[in-house]
Symmetry: C2
Subunit: 192 residues, 2 copies
DNA sequence: ACCGATAAAGAACGATCATTCAATAATCAA
DNA sequence: TTGATTATTGAATGATCGTTCTTTATCGGT
């Protein structure tokens, strides 16, 4: 078989930039250099290819973005700070399309592609749940103010990240994104 | 001529939900009940129709959303609070597609539709500039802390709004959005 | 009632869409 | 080397895309 990972890397860029509906199989063939029939043999159809692209993005980009959340050596604040700072730099990284694939690749799709939208939505919700769990662990260890609600705080942090992705798509620089991240962290409910 | 505003209202919903590329002329014909040739006579082409849809959305929705920013009776804080609260309620309004049209209708499009993306981006950037101007006016009148940067604060508020739109698309309730808005308004840099 | 002008629509256009088929090239056990 | 299997592809599929052409209604002025 052809090098599926290399092809997926190319496909990730394309879907990232143009979104699901606006990326045609002809585009994917031109970008990957793999014939359409071969892509179908490997991934069944466009939706299957996109599902594989999601997993490839998660393995190569999301893992790095969310690394601070899973790093046991970091305090809860440091973990969230690391997450937002990585978002700022990766969303504005010149070598990749701006913003986050998970947020913009299927922002608005046709009813025929509703299943695709769900795939990404589930990933977004799972990532938010991961963040909230980390905050709950921090709260259990007394790192957060007593009146702080980890669920609301997590949703807030996640919302800022999602907004940062739109900002990056509109041309925000890494420094602007870092300023936004810093301001979000100003709201941090540290234990007294 | 047919009732263009009524047709545009229908078209707004369709583009709002599905985005530019995923909304076909056939969809628009079915939804508006106006024949394709008539739509072309009135708006030239799909891009022209979309441009008219943008203006229709701005006149019927954005105006209401940004009303607090232009209300001279409100303090700067009240204006921003009103903006975020209106975002929370309108983004989750059951009668309309979730989120904000300006943020999601052309989040990711094909290179052929790049001009469409620019149209919406310009609207987003103009709205952000409007918010920042309001904050600068507040700063000039001593409503903000001396070390507060209106440009950064405005970008932050705007980022939260953009994130709230993604949250709404993913099913966030009005109460969840209000909690997010409330957290964004915490530690407001009020003058001492 | 009639007529020129305007508005609306049905049917067709070539282009492109995702997908598949038939045929070729590469691989490997024997 | 041979033969069966697998991998790969160019070409063709019907469907749908945005767009336009031609024809049919509609309408205000005389």
């Amino acid at each position: 078989m052809f090098n599926t990972d290399a092809a997926l890397d190319k496909a990730v860029r394309l879907f990232w930039q143009r979104g699901y509906d606006a990326t045609s199989m002809a585009d994917l063939v031109a970008e990957t250099g793999v014939a359409a029939a071969s892509l179908y043999a490997a991934f069944d159809n466009k939706a299957g290819l996109f599902a594989a692209v999601i997993e490839r993005y998660a393995a190569t980009f999301s893992v790095h973005l969310y690394a601070p959340i899973n790093d046991p050596a970091l305090s809860t604040f440091e973990a969230v700070k690391g997450l937002l700072e990585r978002a700022a730099s990766s969303f504005s990284e010149p070598g990749t399309p701006a913003g986050c694939f998970m947020y913009s690749a299927a922002a608005a799709v046709s009813p025929a592609s509703a299943a695709i939208e769900c795939l990404l939505r589930d990933k977004r919700i799972a990532a938010e749940a991961l963040l909230i769990e980390r905050l709950q662990r921090g709260a259990a260890q007394g790192e957060l103010a007593a009146n702080a609600d980890p669920a609301v705080l997590g949703k807030f942090i996640n919302t800022v990240m999602e907004g940062m992705s739109v900002q990056a798509r509109d041309g925000a620089t890494i420094n602007e994104l870092l300023s936004i991240a810093k301001m979000a962290l100003d709201r941090w409910p540290a234990a007294v």
